[in-house]
Amino acid sequence: MSNVKYLFNIYNKNFEMPLPKKGFKATAYTALAIIAITCIIVPCCLIVGFITNIMSQAMMLEGSKTGALMSEIHIMSVFSLVFGLFVIFNVLYFSSDREHLVTLPITPTELLAAKFRHTYFAESLMEFLVILSMFIGYFIACVSNYQTIRSFGLISILLALIGTFVTPLLPLVYCAIISMLLMALLKNVKNAKIFSHVSDFFLLLFVGLFLLSFKDSGGITVNNYIESLLAENNLFFRICNILFFTVPLLCKAMEAESLLLALLYLIANVIPVCLMLLIGKYLYQEGLYTAASLGSSHKQADVNKLNMKLTSVFSACFHKELKVLLRTKAYSNNCVYINLLWPIGVFLFFSLSSKNENVQRFRELYGNPSYPRAALIMMLIVIAVSFIASALNTLASTAFSREGAHVDLIKYIPVPYSTQLNAKILTAIVFTYPSLLLSIVVASYFLNFDFLTGLTYALTALLAMTICIVTGLAMDSAAPYTVWSDEYSALRGNLNSFFNMAVSMLVAFLLCALIFLLFELTPASLSAVTILVLVILTIASILAITFGRRIIIDNMKELY
């Protein structure tokens, strides 16, 4: 199996995004990496560990030692399955290296094993840290609850370390098996669109299942969640127990400190991998043939009837951006449709928490002018969401990377860099701002705020989004990731989007902290603080547009 090792090493090298090695850009990227670690990875791990700890303590009091841990690993596994499916689909069947690799004297099983191994490590790095945080949260809860370090033993610790790395394996194995089976089943359909909608189907299925499992218990609340776990009657988690059967095994082995169960857990993880390779032996090559012969229906064009109207240069550039985004599944899912999460999320939050006392209390206080702090918190949420939503969709932070190997098109067409940049900025705005506006409209329905307040939120969101978009574009223009094997790699292998998210979170946090402290420590009224927020954001936006654009255009001149 040395071929697997060679291929794996090559994939790893090819996956690395080239970063500036010298000068200001190299220093800036190092600083951004530190910000990313402190603003994304550390807070994420702390939050996950904290939630696990709190929930574990609550459930330990009721006699369930690992129930909370198990439920969280299940949720993580569902995420891995849903989002890993499209990644595995692309890696196994639609990467641009496919036609070169299949001509090499390597077996399909070796190719499958190498691609799977690379994807497993590349996709699971963050997951490893999050799962490790869960285990740490769990162990702290054990000590707090049982008041003794002996509440867990060496086997538990070893299993936690192994589980950290092994837990993401099973969902990804499922993704690979589903991909190969689908390719085999749909061999005669030969339409790429059907394949690319499978991950959407699984996402809807699991979200629907999760929501359905809380239908009879009066909505999703922490209490209902814990009660349903203790009663073991939650449909979602019952299905997860069967689907991700290694997780209950892991938890039982940790709970019982059983070496036998620990061995069973390891074997239970090896069997699906072997099954995947066995299926791959018979189906992967056929799937590659199918993938190579896919295509949409060919239309016979009549050159006399085709649209050949002149449009403006800006419009041509803008429409080019839109078409590329909407017609590429990786981009449309991760950059465009992801924006729908925010209005849907706001709606679900208020709908499903209608019986939650804390949310009810907040809604009451929000409408009460005697408690302006509630309105201030809402303003802070608008700012934070605007920054995070604009960074999360990566529209700006991958705008130049998405051009791929032909980024030099920007250089040789006779279009001013400013015009091309404006088209990219507008594209990011067009897909980000409507979702923010819609979220505000949905929130206004539940919180009953007036038009002027809504307008203030809309303006705040616009300004925060503008700053974030210009920052993302500046980052991506400095060192775009243009040599990738498939479009999905342009997004997932792109450190610019990760760094942009970190910077956005940091700026949002600092801004919100400043506003909150200003309100708490000075006699300034809510109106005064709101005006100040708008002034700060307006100045920051003007600065971003003025200087940021200049930096981006200078970077565009250096692209090749």
């Binding site: 060919h298 050949m308 590429t328 190997a405 040789y412 006779p414 001013p416």
Partner: protein, 247 residues
């Protein structure tokens, strides 16, 4: 129409890809640009088209300096790059229309041109199909059509024959001759010396970033009596290589 003076390009800190290359291409000329892989042909072309900024020297296209007046210079040439895999999400026609919009080609002019070019290159039936589904040759044909849609005076083509079928290659050579006959100029890079021999008024040979020959094919062959162009080319490159090694 194309004037390159002392063009030099350094990648990174010390890799001199092009070293002091100068040439002039006048009206009505077809010039072939030859050299081994990695000689610096594409780097010179990228400097001419504004993709790379020369470390020193200048490039003037149709009277406009590519660095000082980039938009006017860029409007004066058609460029076909060595890789036709660009914007594959668009249909063939959408890509041509995008390029035509960028060069502000009026509707009444572009429609007959698209019709004529697509029929000459036998790709008219596929114009409404996404380029992702095109073969390499079809993409190359489309790149050529899109590049020529604004009928610029200067054509700069980086290995344009690669992937073209014989009839499309013949059409392109024919179009190059027609274009030059109208008083315009064509610069194209190629590895096929027979094409250069039959088509070009002049050839330029570059090796290790330096220009090692500029002149007509006849003059080159005359200086190496009894040898065909291929042998002359190989000798020239190996001589220069050993010359440099000794130095």
């Amino acid at each position: 129409m194309i004037s390159a003076k002392n063009l030099t390009m350094i990648y990174g800190t010390d890799h001199k890809a092009v070293d002091d290359v100068s040439f002039e291409i006048g009206k009505g000329e077809i010039v072939g640009f030859a050299g081994p892989n990695g000689a610096g042909k594409t780097t010179v072309i990228k400097m001419l088209t504004g993709i790379l900024k020369p470390v020193s020297g200048s490039a003037v296209i149709n009277g406009y300096d590519i660095v000082k007046e980039p938009l006017k210079a860029k409007s004066s040439f058609a460029y076909v790059s060595d890789n036709p895999d660009v914007l594959l999400q668009l249909t063939g026609l959408e890509y041509i229309n995008f390029i035509a919009d960028v060069y502000k080609v009026p509707t009444e002019e572009r429609a007959p041109r698209i019709k004529e070019f697509s029929e000459r290159f036998a790709i008219a039936d596929a114009l409404d199909t996404p380029m992702r589904e095109y073969s390499h040759g079809m993409r190359q044909k489309l790149m050529v059509i899109a590049a020529l849609i604004h009928e610029p005076p200067v054509w700069i083509l980086d290995e344009p024959m690669t992937g073209l079928d014989p009839s499309a290659a013949f059409e392109l050579k024919q179009m190059m001759r027609e274009h030059a006959a109208k008083g315009n100029c064509v610069l194209f890079s190629t590895h096929v010396l027979e094409v250069a021999e039959k088509l070009c008024d002049h050839i330029m040979i570059i090796n290790h970033g330096r220009s090692i020959y500029q002149g007509t094919v006849e003059e080159l062959e005359a200086s190496y009596p009894g040898k065909d162009l291929e042998s002359v080319f190989l000798e020239l490159i190996s001589y220069k290589k050993s010359d440099e090694t000794e130095a």
